[in-house]
């Protein structure tokens, strides 16, 4: 298991060996600092807390400074845990720095981020409903969801539609994970990971990169 915190830089294209043009996302990942180590004895499970991106000196809170001081580092803006198997021996200690080199022999990665907010979206955009015809007598209902249930239907009964009925509402701005991006290249000097395809969120947003299950099984 390899995991890093980073920032989405943006998308571009590169040619692979076969001369194919690949759409890639560039992620500036790490170096992350181990801010805390959790073990079965102390916390009930094994994990490593990673921190990325320093907080501006004027914006630091005392608890953050104190927490970071235990790892002899600066307070970090983006802090997430990397869960480790409970039976594994702990190989990290507070203050350790983790760089993109942990992905050196990883072929594919999962990327988690916060997707772009779309605001209040209708069912066609939000749930890929097909809407109603543009003509043939359809009036003012072209993008409507249709029937959401009746008094006695499988979609809900007299008490109203079933919970989870897909309707219009807020779309985006939630955690999304895209899986199985093949890792195109690694730039250890600039701390860059180049992954195939698009990852969630706008450029400049924080993302979590971890080796995919396929890579972990090996």
């Amino acid at each position: 298991m390899a995991m890093l915190l980073g920032k989405k830089v943006g998308m571009t294209q590169v040619y692979d060996e076969a001369g194919k043009l690949l759409p890639v996302t560039v992620i500036q990942a790490g170096p992350c600092v181990v801010t805390q180590v959790k073990t079965v004895e102390t916390d009930g499970y094994n994990a490593v807390q990673l921190g990325y991106d320093d907080i501006k000196a004027s914006r630091r809170k005392k608890p953050e400074i104190g927490h970071a001081a235990m790892a002899k580092t600066e307070p970090k803006r983006f802090v997430r845990e990397m869960r480790l198997p409970d039976d594994a021996a702990m190989e990290y200690s507070p203050g350790d720095s983790i760089t993109v080199s942990v992905f050196a022999d990883v072929e594919s990665v999962n990327v988690s981020g916060t997707s772009k907010g779309k605001g209040f979206a209708g069912v066609m955009k939000r749930h890929n409903f097909s809407g109603f015809p543009g003509s043939h007598g359809t009036e003012r209902k072209h993008r409507a969801p249709g029937s959401i249930s009746s008094f006695a239907s499988n979609a809900g009964g007299g008490g109203g539609p079933k919970k989870g009925k897909r309707m219009a509402g807020h779309m985006g701005n939630r955690r999304v994970t895209t899986k199985g991006h093949s890792l195109v290249s690694i730039d250890e000097e600039k701390n860059l990971l180049v992954v195939n395809g698009a990852v969630p969120g706008p450029s400049g947003s924080y993302v979590i990169v971890s080796s995919s299950q396929k890579a972990q099984d090996k």
Partner: protein, 122 residues
């Protein structure tokens, strides 16, 4: 900073020696084509009528007449499949996009020759 990092990634895919050629040049474009398993190099000869895009996205359009039918191909400048670009003859042009050639037929598709150092026969 953002574009710097993207440029650093892109720059590895850019060709180091792209030959100098201009709009209006007649060029030979040598490009790889795949036939099943085999790979061979084919040459497309014609007039460069447009160059578009920057960096990794730069494309150029080559137009030639086959019989009385115009044929255009758009090549990515930095593709490894475009093996060689050889400018042969410079044409006199007054604009950057020669789309007006699409309406011309016969002799009129040929641009007046212009002397230029990069097309002097080598």
């Amino acid at each position: 900073m953002k574009t710097e990092l993207l440029d650093a990634v892109e720059s590895k895919s850019l060709k180091e020696n792209v030959p100098y050629f201009e709009i209006g040049d007649i060029v030979d474009v040598h490009y790889k084509i795949k036939e099943g398993e085999k790979e061979r190099i084919q040459v497309f000869n014609g007039t460069v009528i447009a160059r578009k895009g920057r960096g990794i996205n730069e494309m150029f359009t080559v137009r030639r007449m086959v019989g009385s039918e115009g044929v255009e191909r758009i090549f990515p400048l930095n593709s490894p499949n475009v093996v060689k670009i050889k400018p042969i003859r410079s044409g006199k042009t007054r604009r950057a996009k020669l789309y007006f050639l699409r309406k011309r037929t016969g002799k009129a598709v040929k641009l007046a020759q212009q002397h230029s150092d990069h097309t002097v026969s080598r």
